[in-house]
């Protein structure tokens, strides 16, 4: 057998193995999770430590935590991205400092974010185990992704617009608001979706910041349990929680699928737009 045929065989084998395992995983969750998935499952409160009932309060907590994270991170990252893309020379000291620190931030493991969130938001800022603490910790985590995608989106806008606007005597901020941001909007929203996807999948950072309580939160200062934490708790700490864990996992995956396809469609639309404007 020649090397070429051997290689071809092995590579096909690898691909089949990989897809096989993944289909096994996905179908497992689908088969066990779908039967218990229903509208009542989505809105009911968990009962009996989550063994029965639904995930209504969990979903509310998850949404609130995400909202806090995005409301905090989005403006901050847009501002930083605008500064880095429009008002800083690539080799300026300030620009390099900001970029390096963001690169480091992107590499910090999620459990370390959990430690930081606990020490800073829960204890130092005295927010305790709360949705606010969890959301703010997640905001720190998604900041690098949001900034990077926003910067790329802005860089991709045609430079001609900047020149033409300047030649018409328009200020940089006017050009930014009326032309660049509107052109880059699909890319910005796609980046936002990616950030949301990353945040929704996060568990370790939330365990010590937003808490474990599975009832409906009364306010942002209340503790809340996110969907990913719920799955963790059901599978590790609650005997017999597997069925609901399967369904919760299915909900989580479906949620991520929706978010990612929105992001991909927006990215395609953005690409299409910036190519068509010849």
């Amino acid at each position: 057998m020649t090397k070429n045929t051997l290689a071809t065989g092995l590579i096909w084998l690898a691909a089949i193995l990989v897809s096989g395992v993944f289909f096994w995983l996905l179908s497992d969750i689908l088969i066990h999770g779908l039967p218990h998935l229903s509208w009542s499952f989505l809105v009911e409160a968990p009962r009996n430590a989550g063994r029965s009932g639904g995930i209504g309060s969990i979903i509310v907590s998850t949404v609130l935590i995400l909202a806090v994270a995005m409301v905090t991170a989005a403006p901050l990252s847009l501002a930083t991205a605008v500064l880095l893309s429009e008002f800083t020379r690539y080799d300026s000291v300030f620009g390099r400092l900001v970029r390096s620190s963001l690169d480091v931030l992107a590499g910090v493991p999620s459990i370390v974010f959990g430690l930081f969130g606990n020490a800073f938001f829960c204890i130092y800022l005295d927010l305790g185990f709360s949705i606010l603490s969890g959301g703010l910790t997640l905001a720190c985590m998604v900041l690098p992704i949001l900034i990077r995608t926003a910067e790329e989106g802005l860089q991709a806008t045609p430079n001609d617009y900047r020149l033409a606007a300047a030649a018409l005597g328009m200020s940089r901020s006017a050009a930014l608001v009326h032309l660049l941001l509107t052109t880059a909007t699909p890319a910005l929203v796609a980046g936002l979706m990616l950030g949301i996807g990353r945040a929704v999948a996060e568990t370790a950072a939330l365990i010590f910041t937003s808490g474990y309580v599975d009832r409906m939160p009364d306010s942002l200062f209340d503790s809340g349990r996110a969907l990913s934490v719920h799955i963790y708790d059901l599978s590790m700490n609650v005997a017999g929680g597997d069925t609901n864990a399967y369904s919760s996992a299915l909900v989580l995956i479906i949620l991520l699928l929706i978010i990612n396809s929105i992001a991909m469609n927006l990215a395609k639309q953005w690409l299409h737009r910036s190519v068509v404007t010849v």
Binding site: L163, A164, A167, L168, G169, S171, A174, H178, T277
Partner: protein
């Protein structure tokens, strides 16, 4: 079918007649005689980092006239143009030295209000750059930025400038549609209308027809001719025939010793093309060099 596309067999010879083109309210003034200089450039030099782009260029731009800058690529003609409306400010590492006076004011003074300057000196780029907005908004946006806010006034200006450039009949029913849907020639005319809306004194044009097909190119060229008298136009062009057709004055640029661009000769258009003083100019205009 647009009124402004010439029938194909009409000869394109405009140098002999100064007759105003009367389509549209914009009418060209008579060819200037005894015009006064509006922009005086004295010993202008330009460097990008260490690389010199222009060396010791001195010329005058005369009011109400069309001045063509001719010469092969890379001679610094576009860089020269960028100095006149301070677009060189936007290029990092660009150093400009020398004097430029616009209307007796020092154009290169650091305290000059550059945004105001760019109302008086507008620029049209080689590739038409319509904003990704509606046709109306393309013209309104810079106007609003410069302080005009009443919708009635804005509507007036939009109609006026679109009539001037000959686009009004073509687009009056779709002012809210995207400017990106216009053809190349229409887009360039829109860009000119946009610049005219700010009531400039000078229009700088960097090869405005080179990215257009021949028919659109002809239409835009007609428009440029009609700007004579009311506006001062400085146009960079590779098309010698075009320069001959429309310009009153011409400046010939060349690269000196493979390094920086420089001005070889400047004078009345007729003189540059028919009786050039410098042998390089003669060689260039009759096609034996460049």
């Amino acid at each position: 079918m647009s009124l402004f596309i010439k029938p194909k067999n009409e000869p394109v010879d405009k140098t002999l007649t100064a007759e105003a083109y009367t389509l549209g309210p914009l009418q060209a003034g008579p060819p200037c005689c005894n015009p006064e200089p509006l922009i005086r450039v004295d010993n202008l030099s330009l460097h990008y980092g260490k690389k010199p782009a222009l060396e010791n260029v001195s010329l005058d731009i005369y009011k109400g006239c069309i001045t063509a800058l001719i010469g092969p690529s890379g001679c610094g003609k576009t860089s020269f143009l960028s100095v006149l409306n301070r677009m060189t400010d936007m290029i990092p590492d660009c150093r400009v030295s020398g004097n430029v006076h616009f209307d007796s004011k020092d154009l290169r003074h650091p305290a000059l209000d550059v945004q105001r300057l760019r109302r008086d000196i507008g620029m049209i780029f080689q590739k038409p750059v319509p904003f990704p907005l509606s046709i109306r908004r393309n013209i309104e946006l810079p106007l609003r930025e410069h302080g005009m806010s009443k919708q009635a006034e804005l509507n007036d200006v939009v109609q006026h400038v679109l009539l001037d450039v000959g686009l009004w009949d073509e687009v009056k029913d779709r002012l809210e549609s995207s400017a990106l849907a216009l053809s190349g020639g229409q887009q360039q005319r829109l860009c000119i209308a946009r610049a005219l809306a700010l009531q400039p004194k000078v229009l700088l044009m960097d090869e405005p027809c080179s990215a257009l097909d021949p028919i659109s190119s002809g239409v835009v060229e007609d428009l440029i001719q009609r700007l004579r008298g009311k506006y001062t136009v400085v146009i960079v062009t590779h098309n010698l025939a075009q320069a001959r057709r429309i310009a009153n004055y011409a400046g010939f640029f060349w690269i000196k010793d493979q390094r920086a661009g420089c001005l070889i000769e400047f004078g009345q258009c007729k003189q540059i093309f028919e009786a050039p003083a410098h042998e390089l100019t003669a060689a260039y205009v009759n096609g034996s060099r460049g």
